[in-house]
């Protein structure tokens, strides 16, 4: 559906440096784990190993890298080894074999003290079942990591209060966890992990226990927090929608193996095998295909200082009806149409910005089809795509958006009927074209006279 997903990296904020590097990680639960690993048995399936040796193969040769500032999602069905993997990374479970390199150091060689320091200073973990301390108040729960580190009472409480406020639990700091709802408890869990200000956050199905509404809210909050504090996050989930929404990259696990790593779009549009395909079949591209990936570059880009006649000439020679106007620094200013320019010249206007079309639809680079759709149906212009700073990046045809939505509908329901709409659109366009050609002829004459 779009050809450029291979080189399209959805992560907006990675510096590209590797933060967590997992290489050839194995975990076998059972007595003879080393022996199984060194024998041929480790090549057989999980079931075979369980049947023959009674040991559970939880991770098989897992390798991946997480970049600094990336939100990396690990996804898989229940029992696929996600929790085991995330626990191995902090060595809460000892891996049987493999390397785990965090910030350049292989932590498998760490002794207890180094491991403690790592957990105190570099990482923070958020658990599926919260793991709050029932005998401590919210404040003391959040301050726990700092207490363990030996931070003084006043300082640690001040810091804890700060984080508690950030997660919106200010009035609850003196309550015990049992007085809080599930969603609030998980916020305490998040606050507790954030209080240490760790570089790396490990989250094991943090939102799975919450009902859908709160869950979505928490996801949005996580995105907001991530935008603000820029942590490296390893996020485990078994929920595809969650993975697609949060992840800059997704690793899909099955029976202890990673079977595909890619951006949400890659996973959806190019599943590596039937298992992944089945896994992602419910996901609609509308939720993952971004404006950035389907946008096009305009043949002509107008600059604000150009005169209307130059603009008109440029557009005419490129057979364009409309063109975007940008500022000196590349910021999007608006769009002009041939009609607008003609009117401007007739009124003896000199500046392009006087002819800008009102209500220009604008999208950000990471908006997905689903969100673009309402824009597309409410406008007759192409949709401009800008980055966070308002810089012009490209544009998307409304036709492309509608087309892909329709295509999806057709695929889904095998129903026709949408074509009528399309035809109608084309008819309208033809009419417009006639009007324009007429206007242009007028203007052409005028410009000739001027010259």
């Amino acid at each position: 559906m779009n050809g450029n997903n291979g080189n399209n990296n959805n992560g907006l904020s990675q510096s590209g440096e590797t933060c967590i590097d997992v290489r050839g990680l194995w975990k076998i639960f059972g007595h003879d784990s080393e022996k199984i690993l060194s024998s041929d048995a480790c090549n057989s399936s999980k079931e075979t190993i369980l049947g023959e040796t009674g040991s559970v193969l939880a991770l098989r040769d897992v390798s991946f890298e997480v970049n600094q500032g990336e939100l990396f999602v690990i996804m898989g069905l229940s029992g696929s080894g996600k929790s085991t993997l995330i626990r191995c990374i902090l060595r809460l479970i000892e891996p049987t074999e493999g390397e785990i390199i965090i910030s350049g150091e292989d932590i498998c060689g760490y002794d207890n003290k180094q491991l403690m320091e790592l957990r105190r200073n570099t990482t923070g973990m958020i658990f599926q079942y919260f793991g709050l301390f029932p005998h401590r108040t919210v404040l003391d729960n959040v301050a726990y990591g700092l207490k363990v580190k030996g931070v003084g009472k006043e300082e640690r409480y001040a810091r804890a209060r700060e984080v508690i406020e950030k997660v919106g639990l200010k009035e609850w700091e003196s309550y015990f966890p049992s007085a809080l709802s599930g969603g609030m408890q998980q916020r305490v869990g998040i606050a507790r992990a954030l209080a240490n200000d760790p570089e790396v956050l490990l989250m094991d199905e943090p939102f799975s226990g919450l009902d859908p509404l709160i869950r979505r809210q928490m996801q949005d909050e996580l995105i907001a927090i991530q935008a603000e504090v820029q942590k490296t996050i390893l996020f485990v989930t078994h929920d595809l929608d969650e993975a697609l929404k949060l992840g800059s990259r997704i690793a899909i696990m099955r029976d202890g193996e990673i079977i595909q790593i890619g951006t949400p779009e890659e996973v959806i549009t190019a599943p590596s095998d039937d298992y992944v395909r089945e896994f992602v079949q419910d996901a609609s591209p509308a939720k993952v295909v971004t404006a950035k990936s389907i946008m096009e570059q305009p043949r002509v880009l107008l600059y604000e200082w150009q005169g209307p006649k130059t603009a008109l000439a440029l557009m005419r020679s490129n057979r364009l009806d409309d063109a975007f106007v940008v500022t000196r620094t590349g910021g999007l200013q608006g769009m002009v149409t041939i009609e607008g320019l003609v009117r401007l010249i007739r009124n003896k206007g000199n500046f392009l910005h006087e002819a800008l079309e009102p209500d220009l639809p604008v999208s950000t680079a990471d908006m997905v089809l689903e969100d673009l759709f309402p824009l597309a149906v409410s406008t007759r212009y192409p949709i401009a795509v800008v980055d966070e700073k308002g810089k012009f990046m490209g544009y998307v045809h409304t036709g492309t958006i509608l087309g892909s939505m329709i295509q999806e509908k057709v695929e889904e329901e095998k129903e026709m009927g949408e074509d009528e709409e399309k035809e109608e659109g084309e008819v309208q366009k033809d009419e417009k074209m006639e009007v324009r050609t007429k206007d242009i002829k007028d203007i052409e004459e005028e410009t000739r006279i001027d010259a």
Partner: protein
């Protein structure tokens, strides 16, 4: 063929005797040191309790009971029990008994809680200690008097020693259970935030095991009280001895009065430690 052949005999009694005398010869100094340690502590507790004016003791009992059970009339009742003990003429003997109980309980906890912690942290330790504890609890209580007697002779020290051996299993067991039943999620969270083993124990496991440990303290105390009566057979002065003498002389009235004092003491101690355990439970549940 009807009688068990005399030739098949196991001289177990002799063996045990041999072991005991070997211990006495080789470890005599060690047990002497322990004995004088216990005696030293015990005498101080006893002297202190007897030195305290009775009014102070009664007031103390009343206030503590009231604070712990949160009902003023229960405080009053417990204080009244102590006044009754005094009016029956058994104040001094009760204080002596109380002293032995306190000494035995303190030592039991000092041994029992660390042992319980050890058991909770090591499966090997648990599998060794559990059958021993089971055996200790099924043994008739006066059996403990024999080794106590052999090691320390007659007197208060063997009484305390026998009491400790009899009373220590519950607190060990309940400390172990209490720590093991702390949710693994919570312990994992503590570890994930970089707690040392010590910090995990003191910040998370012990506080959460506290209700269970307090139940252990309650049971240990009650068993100490039961044992201290029996231990009077080997020379511990106190209420038990009074009952024993009354039995020997068939003095029903005297036996009844002394027995009543034991019951009153038992009620006060039980209610107070029980309320403490309940309070702990509530504290961790809120």
């Amino acid at each position: 063929m009807l009688e068990f052949p005399a030739s098949v005999s196991l001289p177990l009694a002799q063996w045990v005797d041999a072991i005991m005398s070997w211990i006495l010869v080789n470890w005599g100094v060690f047990f002497d040191a322990i004995g004088s340690g216990i005696l030293f502590g015990l005498l101080h507790i006893e002297r202190f309790l007897l030195w305290l004016p009775w009014v102070v003791v009664v007031l103390l009992v009343g206030v503590v009971a009231w604070r712990v059970m949160r009902k003023w009339w229960l405080g009053l009742l417990m204080a009244a029990f102590f006044v009754l003990i005094g009016s029956l003429g058994y104040w001094d003997l009760s204080m002596m008994t109380l002293a032995i109980i306190i000494a035995a309980v303190i030592i039991s906890l000092a041994i029992g809680i660390p042992t319980g912690i050890l058991m909770a942290r090591s499966n090997a330790a648990e599998s060794i200690l559990k059958p021993i504890l089971d055996a200790m609890q099924t043994m008739p209580s006066f059996v403990y008097l024999i080794p106590a007697l052999m090691l320390f002779g007659l007197g208060k020290v063997p009484a305390v020693f026998a009491t400790i051996i009899y009373a220590v299993p519950p607190v060990i067991r309940l400390t172990d259970v209490g720590i093991r039943q702390v949710s693994p999620n919570v312990v994992e969270a503590a570890e994930a935030f970089g707690s040392s083993a010590r910090q995990t124990l003191f910040e998370v496991q012990l506080p959460l095991a506290m209700p269970s440990i307090m139940v252990g303290v309650n049971q240990t105390t009650m068993m100490a009280l039961a044992m201290v009566v029996i231990a009077s057979m080997i020379g511990a002065r106190g209420l038990g001895l009074e009952v024993l003498l009354a039995i020997n002389r068939i003095e029903v009235g005297r036996g009844f009065a002394a027995g009543l004092c034991i019951v009153l003491l038992a009620i006060v101690i039980d209610r107070v430690t029980h309320a403490l355990a309940a309070k702990q439970e509530q504290a961790t549940l809120t």
